[in-house]
Symmetry: C2
Subunit: 332 residues, 2 copies
């Protein structure tokens, strides 16, 4: 019989459709469908030599001959950097001027290299860039929330194939984040513990959904995983905010994230995926009840009317089976 599981972090129900479940390897891309990219594409705005095709950079990590990581404003920014944040409240209308920061983090000069194929040290530089831009955006008094995310592949909503991620800093906090903060606060008040620390502890005790443990991070497929192979990469140390991470943790996040993505890459044939840094805003640094993490969402199935209409999900795979499959994929 199928089982409904409740995600205590997000308050979402998922139907684990045991009878319809696919085996882990049935989610793999066929060899013919895999991406084959050149190391350099003369028309790509993110390839070295084409820097003038993007707005001037806001941050750069140089290497010997050029740059290793390069951050620029998004040429097709969803928000305007210049301008005042003004809120208008007229009757039931609430609007805010669309000011904010929308940047692109170009992750490597090599057009063909996805995160799974980089060196740990190269991924560490990407995360250092994230930290720099996160702190920069958070220090802007117009900004309430900073979202760092990556769209890898067409099913994940990207139009440019050169490896890159994005940051969107918005002049409002979303109800989704506010609800999750409040949910975690209620748990803390009632049980005297961080709900995320508790989940991590339970996952480590059971072990069956763990993907990879490194000194400072644990990646696992959560018990109430909403879609096949969704993975959380969670710091062992309690931290509410991404910006609280120290140097050793930054290096270890690179190691864990890169290897976890490499397991997906080799196990499922380079699937399309999103990842996102789910964090409290910096003003929450130090609070005892919230805990940041990275959420990896492979785009192996489509959201249909039921998911959109109810907020409940159907997962046609078994989290335990998928985690065991990924543990078995050997990566460097």
């Amino acid at each position: 019989m199928p089982e409904l599981r409740y995600n205590v972090l997000t308050r979402e129900w998922v139907i684990i459709a045991t009878e319809r479940a696919k085996r882990p390897d049935q989610f793999a891309k066929s060899e013919a469908d895999r991406r084959k990219l050149p190391a350099f594409n003369p028309k790509c705005p993110f390839c070295p030599g084409n820097e003038k095709m993007t707005p001037p950079e806001t941050y750069v990590i140089p290497d010997g001959k050029g740059w290793q990581v390069r951050v620029t404003p998004n040429k097709f920014s969803a928000l305007a950097y210049e301008g005042e944040r003004r809120r208008a409240i007229v009757g039931i209308r609430r609007t805010v001027t669309g000011v904010g920061i929308h940047e692109v983090i170009v992750e490597t000069p090599d057009h063909s290299k996805t995160t799974a194929l980089l060196q740990d040290r190269e991924v560490e530089l990407i995360i250092q860039a994230y930290l720099n831009r996160f702190k920069f955006a958070s220090s802007d008094s117009r900004i309430e929330q900073v979202t760092i995310f990556k769209n890898h592949g067409e099913a994940a909503g990207t139009s440019l194939e050169h490896p890159h991620s994005q940051m969107i800093a918005t002049p409002v906090i979303t109800t989704q984040l506010r609800d999750r903060l409040f949910n975690a606060l209620e748990h803390f008040d009632e049980f005297g513990e961080c709900i995320f620390c508790r989940v991590l502890d339970q996952e480590r005790k059971e072990g069956v959904r763990i993907v990879l443990e490194t000194p400072h991070f644990v990646s696992f497929i959560p018990f109430a995983c909403l879609s096949p192979f969704s993975i959380l990469v969670m710091p062992r140390r309690h931290m509410a905010c991404f910006a609280e991470m120290n140097d050793a943790e930054t290096a270890d996040l690179a190691r864990n994230l890169r290897r976890t993505l490499a397991k997906l890459y080799h196990g499922l044939g380079d699937p399309d995926y999103n990842y996102v840094v789910r964090t409290a805003p910096t003003e929450y640094c130090g609070v005892k009840y919230y805990h940041w993490y990275v959420s990896i969402i492979p785009r192996l199935t489509k959201m249909a009317g039921f998911e959109l209409g109810s907020g409940m999900f159907i997962n046609v795979s078994l989290p335990e089976e998928n985690a065991s499959f990924l543990r078995g994929i050997q990566v460097q």
Copy 2:
């Protein structure tokens, strides 16, 4: 400058990306990409003559020679119909046995006819079938929430092209619905009005986002529309629950829904879409603060990392421009 708009019904923010906005006709499918289906497909389990390829029907609306609408259990049901609802609470774990009802509503015998191409009377029969199954499922004491939805086209998550919709009745109520009920209740307590009636009233006064008015229903693109061409079809009369609709309203919903979908069909070249009946459970019949409606969501853009990670949306089109475009599409 872009504008952030707040959806007072769902508490979601959307960035109306004015500078990146596409014109309405830029969302149209090219002639080459349009569906071309035969009226009969011998391999289709929903085509007449193939009834034995599905489980026995639970409801049928006959016509002279056979059936016009046919409901059967989903052959690949996400939930088990037989069984007891049992909840297990162990530590932070909450699970419920996966019992419920998952049915398919085959909308017409004709493989090639989508809702936009049916007669009003044929669509009315589909809605009568929805009402029958909604009431049937709601009377099952194991059921807390009933979701009726349609997935039209591959981008909307369907695998079968024969026109059909689905009903999933679940043994729990989702946080999404509970939050929306509560949000509406709070508005009622503070302002003494149904927030949905207020929104409808405001949309009708302004007129610029109206798509189609019929005697009992109004279809419109909401002010804080999350994605291009998303449309609400809302009853003028205050009703919390779908099952409260009378016969005249049922006929008029068919008329409004069919013509609204026909405007999308002719204006955008038969786009893929989902629709979903958003309603309170039957136990809420008669409450003053909630109001059911149908939500149509054309799948013209993809949810990417930002949307998944923040719960905020970027709409690359102008609701006012799109509504004006649809008003201009003449349909029978």
